[in-house]
Symmetry: C2
Subunit: 355 residues, 2 copies
Amino acid sequence: MKTQHTAGASSFSFPEPVYVESAASIVSKKEGEGPLAGYFDRICPDPMFGTKTWEGAESALQRETASLAIQKAGYSPKDIRMVLAGDLLAQTTASSFGAAGLDIPFYGLYGACSTMGEALALGAMCVSGGFGKHVACVTSSHFASAEKEFRFPLGYGNQRPFSATWTVTGSGAVILGDRPPALSVDNAMRTDAGCVALSGITTGRLVDFGFKDSLNMGACMAPAACDTIFQNLQDFHRSPGDYDQILTGDLGVIGTKILLDLLRKKGIDLSENHSDCGLLIFNCQSQDTHSGGSGCGCSAVVLASYILPKIASGEWKRVLFVPTGALLSKVSFNEGESIPGIAHGVVLEHREAEE
Amino acid sequence: MKTQHTAGASSFSFPEPVYVESAASIVSKKEGEGPLAGYFDRICPDPMFGTKTWEGAESALQRETASLAIQKAGYSPKDIRMVLAGDLLAQTTASSFGAAGLDIPFYGLYGACSTMGEALALGAMCVSGGFGKHVACVTSSHFASAEKEFRFPLGYGNQRPFSATWTVTGSGAVILGDRPPALSVDNAMRTDAGCVALSGITTGRLVDFGFKDSLNMGACMAPAACDTIFQNLQDFHRSPGDYDQILTGDLGVIGTKILLDLLRKKGIDLSENHSDCGLLIFNCQSQDTHSGGSGCGCSAVVLASYILPKIASGEWKRVLFVPTGALLSKVSFNEGESIPGIAHGVVLEHREAEE
């Protein structure tokens, strides 16, 4: 009989920690004008990233980010055993023409804006199980390719209600491995204080509250975030105070309010230590991004640029990262289907340096 | 240091075997008129599966197939730790509204028609790593939803060249676990002779030969199948004769010819023990399916209905299952991009019954 590392109904913990070896983030102009401007690895002012199409732009962005993360860890692509990547486009083409092009064994994922959580979970299972020393987890989104995919091409100039979020043009990549990274000036994932370990996972379930508004994704995803956070606390016998921060993916202004309300009804007060990546990345008022940032690049770039370095430095000791996704396509939306949500939980912890 | 179970450049083997606990297949009318008619669990004559849309039909089909596999293994949904599911639609909506609806922790995958290989690989890693005793792997495709998604809605009545394949309307589901299933009249995955173990994986890489014809998917995928089969033989130090059968996903008539040619150039003769799920499922001549069956339901239903029972009975001792996928979307196709392929290898072996 196999020893089980499962915890509660939906979670598992790793018998030995899985380490974050490196992380990279590349964004475009608007993100580079936001509050996190100083944290990103690169800010590319050209939203086409040197290509001729929005989809080509996103692919180039994703491939470059994955390459940068591999380089920061001190590896070349052949050292990486596996790439787990996804994006928002139909048939995940940004990944098929992006990270998949690195000639590394590849698995494509789709979890809408929760995909970085899915990639980290499956990647960490792979490392923990002994099926690869170094695994790359990559996601991306692009404002223009996403608007075209889900709503209207930008040229139509359609109006956006205040509940709408703004898809982040950005890509985040994380290399997971079975050892802590070595000290290096180019790699913020290892400081004098220590490094980042991935200690546990809570796999999300589909949660459908029956919302049908594709311009209010925060409301569609908040119930899923509530479910995953509640389940994580139950499965690991923790209270919110056991985390320095609980960071959801891209609920935005409206989704955040709903999440806090839903959890309060379950007797859980998250107001003290909750943040949302969609609210961190833009100044919603001055940048006119309405409810906040979104897209599976949003939580990925905030994770890589802002969250992980704070854990590596020891400023945060334990964080629950909960990227959230709205599961719809323009076909399901136009056929009148509801928009179910899903959220995956990833427990990230500071580990002191041993060497 | 973690013990590595990796083999060669792209493969890994499981320290203890992962077992197939059950498998289920449901198809529609045309598949039920083909050579494998007697093998499927259910043949549903209504291509709408009781719903109002093609996408709804595929979701219902997939959910029912997953439920049937869970039931055949003697479990209820709460016993399943995780569902790994995918399909061909944009944003994998057949899975989001299908298997994801079972209230089981869920990860969505996209590997085009190779998705069952990806699901089995990641699912087996999960079981082997101790992150779940029972994991469900599910994929589906539907002729009408796929034609609408990738080419033209059926109502347009567009012509099909002889190189085109026919998307299978069907769904396959496999439950993986850490123990062999018990003997049961309803479960062909355990016979008096033994059961099926998943012993190794070869993860596919993206292979792009520059083909641009979305009505000749076999040609786009054959180079990827060649790459994965060659890599599998290298990584495990095997020759084709070490497998009773090497079964590709859905290369069809044209892709199969190309695969055999490409491998012959590498000094490997597969003509004796190769079959293709796309050629097994239809009688291409009399059923007017041109190059053969395709879709990520194709290899999944042939696996669940035809391949796995032959291994459980001991007729085949070792099989290499290689579902193949063409990575494109209608957007990438219309923007003039090529159609890269990917193929994932899964080694399935007969194990004698111990109890």
